[in-house]
């Protein structure tokens, strides 16, 4: 599938009708989401024929992108049942078979490392401090091949140090820097949209 075609399909997905601020519910836009998964597939071969987990899947954009690019099995996890219902409708509309689990990603217990690749756009931690690092720590325990994630560029050094030193990643690489339009979810934001710099990361978990 061509990048443009992927971006187009993602642009047609339904997104959070009533974003819950405390859960940091803002969707990954089709521009970023398509590039994230397209790179994972075409530069690293981490998507097609793989088992992919989407952490904090929301309405399913990243997982849908993985399924469209030929992932064999995609599972989305989110605490919010409303988002999951939309995610499952989004998958159905594109005739994709995806699984969804309502759960807190911090609380799951895994048997072995069945998942190849974790993809996520974690809460940046503006509400719950350190949420993005908590997601990353779990993702690096679950994935056997790679973790793709977005983090604020301002936290780059911290992310790298934590990944390599505390979470045992064998590699942590920024693939590109992106502009992310976070919609005005917060009362204290004056502008309608806040454009922040985010890094697209690829992490490799420690080999077992």
């Amino acid at each position: 599938m061509k990048l443009k075609q992927l971006e187009g399909l993602l642009g047609g997905l339904q997104q959070f009708p009533r974003p819950k601020v405390e859960l940091e519910q803002y969707p990954t836009g089709p521009h970023i989401a398509s590039r994230m998964l397209y790179t994972a597939e075409n530069s690293f071969d981490d998507v097609s024929n793989k088992v992919v987990a989407d952490f904090g899947c929301g309405c399913g954009t990243l997982g849908v992108a993985a399924a469209l690019l030929g992932a064999e099995h995609v599972v989305g996890f989110d605490v919010d049942p409303e988002s999951l219902e939309i995610a499952s409708l989004n998958a159905e509309a594109l005739e994709l078979d995806m699984d969804f689990i309502q759960s807190n990603v911090m609380d799951l217990q895994w048997r072995g490392r069945v998942v190849d690749t974790v993809i996520m756009n974690p809460p940046f931690g503006t509400r719950k401090k350190g949420a993005d690092m908590d997601f990353l720590s779990v993702a690096l325990k679950v994935a056997s091949e790679a973790v793709y994630s977005l983090h604020k560029t301002s936290t780059r050094d911290h992310v790298k140090r934590a990944a390599l030193r505390d979470f045992n990643a064998s590699n942590a690489e920024v693939l590109c820097e992106l502009r992310y339009d976070v919609p005005q979810l917060y009362k204290f934001h004056k502008k309608k949209e806040v454009d922040i710099a985010v890094d697209l990361w690829r992490f490799v978990p420690a080999s077992l």
Partner: protein
Amino acid sequence: MRLLTHNMLSSNIKGVTNGFPLRIEAEKVVEKVVEMNADFLKKMFEKIDWKAFADASRAMGYAELPEEADSSMLESDEFLQRYHHALLELHLEEGALICPETGRRFPVNKGIPNMLLHEDEV
């Protein structure tokens, strides 16, 4: 939820030591045909807990998987078909997953298991 997902998750209640496999209570199972990918099935064979998988498929009303399996069976097309069907074409639509140690029920509605824990279970 498909059985591949079932095969990778344990009960997540605090203090539970033998949380795998979750017992399946199936009220409604749906089948959706997907293309078979033999290479994927062969790769997954190494990662799957076969006993749990075969038991789970029976709980879903599919009794065609052998109790035990070894990698030589992957040569057989018929075996691959059954393995594929059970792993990726059966969906638990309504029912529950049950913690083998505590009996706690995690309900499954519209195909989505709810594994959120209560405060005293975390």
